[in-house]
């Protein structure tokens, strides 16, 4: 849906910021541009919505040359998210989110509806719609920044290091959330970053650039397995190359498929009973159809034993979860970073599929060590 044809950009002073770029991006694809600072990532991205105009070559969206379209009209159909976030401080969150719909002259009611719909996507309360950006944390602001780009439902979204200024934990959460959102909405995304972990985690294909030229375009796995040259190799880093070796790769392959659970309609005594049986201090709480509702632990039960009787009444819903196809290395990183003892694994409809515990991971490590010795 997005095509770069021999695109070159020369800034005044004869410096070729982008040199003869050729790239075909499919609909629904998540593309990450990555490379050292100054290699022309931002320039490439900004040429798509004509914030910067190419010196030579053509850029086509759905087969149509962007230079032949109305610039203002075209930009309203392309989402745009930047590292500095750039929310307007004098507008409420609601007004910020629905700015493009306003430019497109949607009615006030429709805009408000849309704002409510959108804010649900990122799990922020509706009350936030009437606040001002400066009242929100950085992570919350960038969630709003993303929503603003989604407001008029554009098929294509451009993002320039959108999570670059956030602290690691917030960034982590937002990446995850955003990847899920993208899967759900099927947007085509051009995402600029200089963080290889981020690119590996998010991208369907990674475009590695250097000095205004493309060095390699491929899926994250393929790039990790077969780096095109030394530059790519050094850019990826030795650690990651080793990490990709083990044949086991996704969480689904190593998870424990029978986690200790309790149904939300069951009583607290049942829960205690089950904890004793399974020798655990915490249970995953499920609802209809195996959907994951949250968890309860021993202390919660002790504290609430007098007041409540059913598990559903005291379930903790704040719970970090991963998908079956999440990569093991990401999951490990996250468990360590968040100091959690386990993560539940769910499918796209939030149905519980299994659990990864620290014990699971330890098993994995031992296995790989024993495995190595067998080989020798």
């Amino acid at each position: 849906m997005l095509t770069f044809e021999n695109v070159t950009k020369i800034y005044s002073g004869n410096k070729k910021a982008v040199n003869n770029l050729n790239l075909e991006i499919e609909k629904g694809e998540f593309i990450c541009f990555i490379g050292p600072s100054g290699c022309g990532k931002t320039t490439s991205m900004k040429m798509v919505n004509r914030l910067i105009e190419p010196t030579e070559g053509r850029i086509l969206i759905d087969g149509k040359d962007i230079m032949k379209q109305n610039r203002v009209q075209m930009r309203r159909e392309i989402g745009y998210v930047i590292q500095q976030i750039g929310l307007f401080p004098h507008m409420t969150i609601s007004e910020n989110i629905t700015l493009v719909p306003k430019l497109l002259q949607w009615s006030k009611d429709n805009r408000r509806e849309r704002a409510k719909e959108l804010i649900k996507l990122v799990n922020l309360p509706e009350e936030y719609l009437d606040r001002y950006p400066q009242e929100l944390s950085g992570g919350q602001q960038q969630r709003i920044g993303v929503l603003r780009a989604l407001a008029s439902n554009p098929p294509l979204i451009l993002m320039d290091e959108p999570f670059g200024a956030l602290d690691p934990i917030t960034r982590d959460g937002l990446q995850e959330e955003f990847k899920n959102l993208q899967r759900k909405l099927g947007k085509t995304i051009v995402f600029v970053t200089h963080d290889m972990d981020e690119a590996i985690k998010l991208a369907d294909r990674i475009v590695i650039m250097r000095d205004g030229e493309i060095v390699q375009v491929d899926t994250p796995d393929e790039i990790l397995r077969n780096p095109a040259n030394e530059f790519v190799e050094s850019f990826i880093g030795k650690e990651r190359l080793i990490q990709t070796r083990p044949d086991v790769k996704t969480v689904g392959q190593i998870m424990n498929k029978i986690p200790a659970t309790v149904h939300k309609e069951e009583t607290l005594s049942t829960a205690i009973q089950r904890m004793k049986e399974k020798r655990v201090d915490s249970l995953l709480v499920i609802g209809e159809d195996q959907t994951l509702e949250g968890y309860i632990d021993v202390e919660d039960i002790e504290e609430n034993r007098k007041k409540s009787t059913l598990v559903g009444e005291i379930v903790e819903t704040e719970l970090y979860r991963v998908k079956e196809d999440s990569l093991i290395r990401d999951t490990i990183q996250k468990m360590l970073r968040r100091h959690t003892k386990y993560v539940p694994v769910v499918d796209d409809d939030n149905r519980l599929k299994g659990i990864v515990t620290r014990a699971t991971l330890a098993d994995l490590v031992y296995e790989s060590i024993w495995g190595d010795e067998d080989d020798n």
Binding site: V72, G86, P89, H90
Partner: protein
């Protein structure tokens, strides 16, 4: 003590007169600033956009500012004759500098990221001006109006020399009278009061309009 007593007597006897001049004084100043705003704000916006013009325009309004008030008034009088309009024109010219300059710096001072965001979202130039640049520089522009008004109130005092009236007339009367100290004060005090009050009210507006306070407006 005597002075104070005389002052009170003067106000008692001439209350209506003082009030008329006060009002007249204020109107002259306000009109001068108002016209300067109508002309100066667009000029400020224009030179913020076409930055090649800015050094020329700013120097020009700067030069006006450096002409002594009496001299400017005298020259204008030669062209326009005596009367209120001449004073208002002088005040207009003096008000241009703070208004043009503040509009210019205000608009240039709006975060570039925000302008780019607006641009990237498909705002037209005019929409960026109306929905982003102006609201975000309003408090700076307001500060320019505030300075202009305070200066204008001061300068309007000499309007009396070309027959425009205002609180200056009371002061001049005092200087002509034998024991005119109280009369001078009778004119000077309201002038000072007006300037302080204008400064205060405009300052309040300025704070109200600053982007950080936008929630109070809505």
């Amino acid at each position: 003590m005597d002075l104070l007593k005389e002052l009170v007597t003067y106000y008692n006897d001439n209350g209506a007169y003082v009030w008329t001049e006060f009002y007249r004084h204020f109107l002259m100043s306000a009109y001068g600033v108002l016209f300067a705003a109508i002309v100066g704000i667009p000029i400020g916006i224009l030179i913020a956009r076409y930055s090649k013009l800015s050094p020329w325009v700013i120097s020009f309004v700067n030069v006006i500012q450096t002409i002594p008030a009496l001299a400017l008034l005298a020259v204008l009088m030669l062209v326009m004759g005596l009367g209120t309009n001449t004073v208002i024109l002088a005040l207009f010219l003096y008000s241009l500098l703070p208004i043009v300059k503040n509009t210019y710096t205000g608009i240039l001072g709006v975060d570039k990221t925000l302008k780019e965001a607006g641009n990237a979202m498909g705002m037209t130039r005019f929409q960026i001006l109306r929905m982003v640049e102006l609201p975000l520089s309003l408090s700076v522009i307001m500060a320019g109006l505030r300075t202009a008004l305070v200066i204008a109130i001061g300068i309007a005092t000499i309007g009396t020399f070309i027959g425009a009236g205002g609180l200056g007339s009371i002061i001049v009367r005092g200087t002509n009278a034998a024991e005119g100290g109280a009369i001078i004060l009778a004119g000077a005090i309201p002038t000072a009061l007006m300037a302080v009050l204008a400064d205060f009210v405009m300052g309040w507006f300025e704070r109200l309009l600053s982007p950080a306070n936008s929630r109070k407006l809505s």
